[in-house]
């Protein structure tokens, strides 16, 4: 582009043409009106635009408009070698990049047939960092959710604790959020010396904070009144819409891909799957969804402790250990279609690959993003709710627009 090129020609119809409303003004009944929520609105957690038809304070219809954060992941992936796609994978779910990287690397390794050769120390480190990132993602989800419905303190407290995780992961990889740490066939680098001890210190620090969180948010009467019996998602609807992750578990199904598919070293690790039980209201309401996330934090801590235990005893650091030893020189799988899935903090994250050339480049790399499917249920569960509850329901879905829009 030349230096003085005109970058934008304003025209009053541009916006209407690029993202028109679905509801025609002439179809509205006399009491109804259209409220446009977003795309720049803090409670939409990114750039989601909602077209809300309301009758007074009751919601008649919610129509999501996405694509404001579309970065052409699948188009870029057509021209990039497998290892260079990893930084793009980071930017899908930018709040849980390690989990996405782990699942992506696992998929490519299975295509190459080298997944059995990965040393256990590497797999334990991968699970350790992925669980740390899961904690950080849930902190962001719960903290921002509490702020959505009017409590400011939990957000600051969660951000304070999340900062420790960010710094731990920065120590590991050099970056705070977008790591490019898990590589196909290995890792960028071994854990820094002293990391295990510091990480254990963090676990001990965090446990009382989670108890505090339980008292401050989950058992808070205002919070319960705002979330219990709101946005109830029945189990059959959840499955039919492809909802996964904490949202599906909150609806009462004990379904976690870490157990179901038993990938990586998860079968060697002891942890439980919390589900929603309708303690404060009905099964599958907003409170249950938040509660499942908080319970999962405890389980992640258990996983982290077991990983550190293994990483300091059976699979302890040795001088001979090289995390890059297994990296394939050329990433050229057989010609095939392959789908690989795993449990990211938001749900089932899947990568579909088609490889049909002799290059390092996939012919197609499609992302099955959990947030995309989770968000699609929003227009069902908001029907008949109050306008103020719409914010509560949106926050409880805990989506990241980077993954919805890709």
């Amino acid at each position: 582009m030349s230096k003085n090129a005109i970058q934008y020609v304003y025209h009053p119809e541009n916006f209407d043409k690029s993202d028109p409303l679905l509801t025609q003004l002439s179809d509205l009944k006399s009491q109804e009106m259209i409220i446009n929520l977003g795309p720049q609105h803090p409670s939409t957690h990114g750039v989601l635009r909602l077209e809300v038809v309301t009758d007074g304070e009751m919601i008649v219809k919610v129509i999501p408009h996405m694509g404001y954060l579309h970065r052409c992941f699948e188009k870029h992936a057509e021209n990039l070698p497998y290892n260079q796609i990893i930084p793009f994978v980071d930017r899908l779910d930018y709040a849980a990049a390690m989990n996405s990287e782990h699942i992506y690397a696992m998929g490519v390794e299975r295509m190459l047939g080298i997944e059995k050769n990965i040393p256990p120390r590497i797999e334990y480190i991968r699970v350790l960092v992925a669980e740390l990132n899961r904690l950080s993602s849930h902190f962001l989800g719960v903290g921002a959710y509490a702020m959505d419905i009017g409590a400011f303190t939990p957000f600051l407290w969660m951000m304070r604790d999340r900062e420790h995780i960010n710094r731990l992961l920065e120590w590991v990889s050099g970056a705070r959020m977008l790591y490019n740490y898990i590589w196909i066939g290995g890792l960028y680098y071994d854990l820094p010396v002293g990391f295990e001890a510091r990480c254990l210190e963090f676990v001990h620090y965090l446990k009382p904070r989670l108890v505090e969180l339980q008292k401050l948010v989950m058992e808070n009467q205002i919070f319960i009144h705002r979330t219990a019996n709101i946005g109830v998602l029945p189990l059959d609807m959840a499955i039919n819409y492809g909802v996964t992750g904490p949202m599906l578990r909150a609806s009462g199904l004990r379904y976690d891909l870490r157990k179901v598919d038993a990938y990586s070293v998860y079968p060697e690790i002891d942890f439980d799957i919390p589900i929603g039980e309708g303690k404060m209201g009905q099964v599958g309401d907003c409170w249950d969804r938040t509660s499942v996330r908080v319970e999962e934090c405890w389980q992640s801590l258990r996983i982290i402790e077991q990983c550190i235990e293994k990483l300091t005893s059976v699979h302890a650091r040795t001088n001979a250990f090289d995390p890059q030893a297994m990296l394939p020189k050329k990433i050229r799988p057989q010609k095939m279609d392959f789908y690989c899935r795993g449990e990211s903090p938001k749900g089932e994250l899947g990568f579909f690959f088609r490889h049909n050339t002799n290059f390092d480049i996939p012919a197609r790399c499609k992302v099955r993003s959990p947030c995309f499917s989770n968000l699609s249920v929003i227009s069902e569960i908001t029907q008949g709710a109050m306008l103020a509850d719409l914010i509560a329901i949106l926050g409880s879905v805990d989506f990241i627009m980077g993954e919805v829009d890709r």
Binding site: Q7, Y8, P20, Y255, S376
Partner: protein
Amino acid sequence: MTFLEIKNLLIQKFGDQVILQEVPGLQPQLVVAAYEIVDVCSFLKNNANTFFDSLSCITALDNSTVEQSFDIIYHLYSIPHEHHLIIKVTIDRGNENIQPNIDSISSVYRTADWHEREAFDFFGIIFNKHPDLRRILLPSDWEGFPLRKDYQQQKYYHGIEVASVATSDTKI
């Protein structure tokens, strides 16, 4: 049920006019005739032995301009039985007059609703009887379908110069 059992069950029910062939591999696929996709999916969902209650993913692929076809791949999963099935459908690429089209399975799986909109957005595949077939990620007035192999990027969008993307000719 194993892949072979499901395949035999489907051939028994629909015959080999509909269940065309099997693509072997690490994850075997079943090629199904496009015009019966809704019936096959609803049979698989409602049969107690298969009970594929969830649809993980729908992927559309362009098989190149030489073969003149699109693939659509459905990943079905049964939560209680813990078995997978991958269904592959090949449809004609169409021409200026006829757009590529296939029946929508969003009446069987609601997951398909948005996934099919995405396939329409990127490949221009029309899903018949879809409740709300609009572009989902790109702006409504974007020209062309970006993931097609013969996609030509527009030069300007609302007067903004569109940055050029590296093409597959500039491969390493």
